[in-house]
């Protein structure tokens, strides 16, 4: 998987021309890059230096530090990872929309689902979990992708589970109403087939709304997580990278337990298990890396 940093987010604050913040020295920038790469696996190339330095200056200012040295010391020593989370947030893109990172949906219907079908009798369940599902774009995208592009979809009982810690996001997801921006990557044919105009936006059709199981889940709550079992595919994108190390280890363990042996988990574009856990085996599907819970136990 690529480890280059993603796009500049136009919504983040832009430094003004009269910004008096101290520039970051090349040595300090190198130290920062080493640290960030060690922690996240994300490496900033020369072409991203301007972006990364500005975001770094934003964080130094936002945390009220005099300069890089003080900020870096705080960052390295903090327990609980709050500033690290903010920093990762500042360096990556968080926007959700339909068909985001669709190369993984391609891998799902071209490789993962056929692989499951090859070993499973028709009529049996296939369980897919979107976690965190936020306002629903991801699970609805999965549903559309399967209906549109997996010829064997009708032969199996496909359960799509979708969970988030945020009950308001879940309420929005169940309502299924979205603005233009959320649909900007959606092929027009799909927009036509699965959405109807609704106020200033669009509403997803009843059939899809009724087929996603939206539940409130806190990944850190082991008791709730234990109820999710024998999952075939988990989409866990852009969540784990924001956890502190201790919480993240716990989350990875519970996700592993929820997958059936041979099941796969998909992370976000900037995320890699290489900084999280060695429980999963990287599997190549085309040019996409997904992570598999081994079939044989050790």
């Amino acid at each position: 998987m690529s480890v280059t940093a993603p796009l500049i987010d136009p919504r983040l604050p832009v430094a003004r021309a009269d910004d008096a913040r101290e520039p970051i020295s090349p040595q300090d920038y190198a130290k920062f890059c080493d640290f960030f790469y060690r922690k996240t696996g994300i490496m900033f190339g020369a072409n991203k230096a301007y972006f990364a330095e500005r975001r770094l200056q934003d964080r130094i200012a936002a945390t009220g530090h005099a300069g890089f040295r003080d900020y870096f010391t705080m960052l390295r020593f903090e327990i609980g990872g709050t500033e690290m989370q903010q920093l990762v947030n500042a360096m990556t893109i968080n926007e959700t929309y339909f068909y985001r990172e669709d190369y993984q949906f391609d891998a799902l219907v071209r490789h993962v689902l056929p692989g499951i079908a090859a070993e499973r009798a028709p009529g049996t369940p296939i369980r897919i979990w979107s976690l965190p599902c936020s306002t629903g774009e991801e699970p609805y995208s999965i549903a559309m992708q399967i209906l549109e592009h997996w010829s064997q979809a009708d032969r199996y009982d496909i359960e799509i589970l979708a969970s988030d810690i945020d009950s308001r996001a879940l309420a929005d997801a169940r309502a299924g109403v979205y603005g233009e921006r959320a649909l900007h990557r959606l092929p027009p044919a799909l927009k036509q087939r699965y959405f109807t105009p609704y106020g200033d936006g669009y509403r997803i059709c009843d059939a899809l709304r009724g087929s996603i199981d939206f539940t409130q889940v806190n990944v850190a709550d082991a008791a709730t997580m234990r109820r999710y079992r024998d999952i075939d595919v988990i989409f866990c994108r852009n969540m784990l990278i924001y956890f502190d190390e201790v919480s993240r280890r716990q989350a990875v363990e519970t996700l592993y337990d929820s997958l059936r042996p041979g099941g796969v988990i998909c992370l976000g574009h900037s995320e890699s298990m290489s900084r999280m856990s060695s429980l999963f085996a990287p599997c190549r599907f085309g040019t996409t890396i997904l992570y598999q819970r081994p079939v044989d136990h050790d």
């Binding site: 080493d34 490496m43 290489s274 900084r275 856990s277 060695s278 990287p282 190549r284 890396i289």
Partner: protein, 130 residues
């Protein structure tokens, strides 16, 4: 940065030591190679599976996945059959060398590998004129 006369051949250096990775980077860039890095065996395997490289230089002892396992898994994938692989280890025993070669490495070197030797083997294994 790569030398102006770079032939564009790409080496992935997989080692958990930052200084070691930069050391190899300086050695290979001086010979015109483009160098990418991975900080552990799992990251190395991920990158080697989906990105094109002309040579892998792989440390044996690494967190998350050791060099032997990286090589075995890579050779087990259609995308990882052809790429030449050099393993570098502190272990001088023949059983370690055998293990690396059985896993699918092409060459086993003992640390510390002299810069001249590294460049020589890299040129040889990537088909660059010496």
């Amino acid at each position: 940065m790569t030398e102006p006369h770079s032939h564009g051949k790409r080496i992935l250096v997989v080692d958990d030591g930052m200084t070691t990775r930069l050391y190899y980077r300086s050695v290979f860039e001086a010979a015109g190679f483009v160098v990418e890095e991975a900080a552990n065996g799992l990251e190395g395997l991920e990158r080697a599976l989906v990105e094109p490289f002309d040579l892998l230089v792989v440390d044996v002892n690494m967190p998350k996945m050791d060099g032997y396992t990286l090589i075995e898994r890579l050779r087990g994938d259609a995308a990882g059959q052809a790429v030449p692989i050099v393993t570098i280890s502190t272990e001088a025993g023949t059983s370690d060398a055998e293990r690396a070669l059985e896993a699918g490495a092409n060459l086993y070197l003992i640390k510390p590998a002299a810069p001249a030797a590294l460049r020589h083997y890299a040129a040889l294994m990537t088909g660059v004129a010496a």
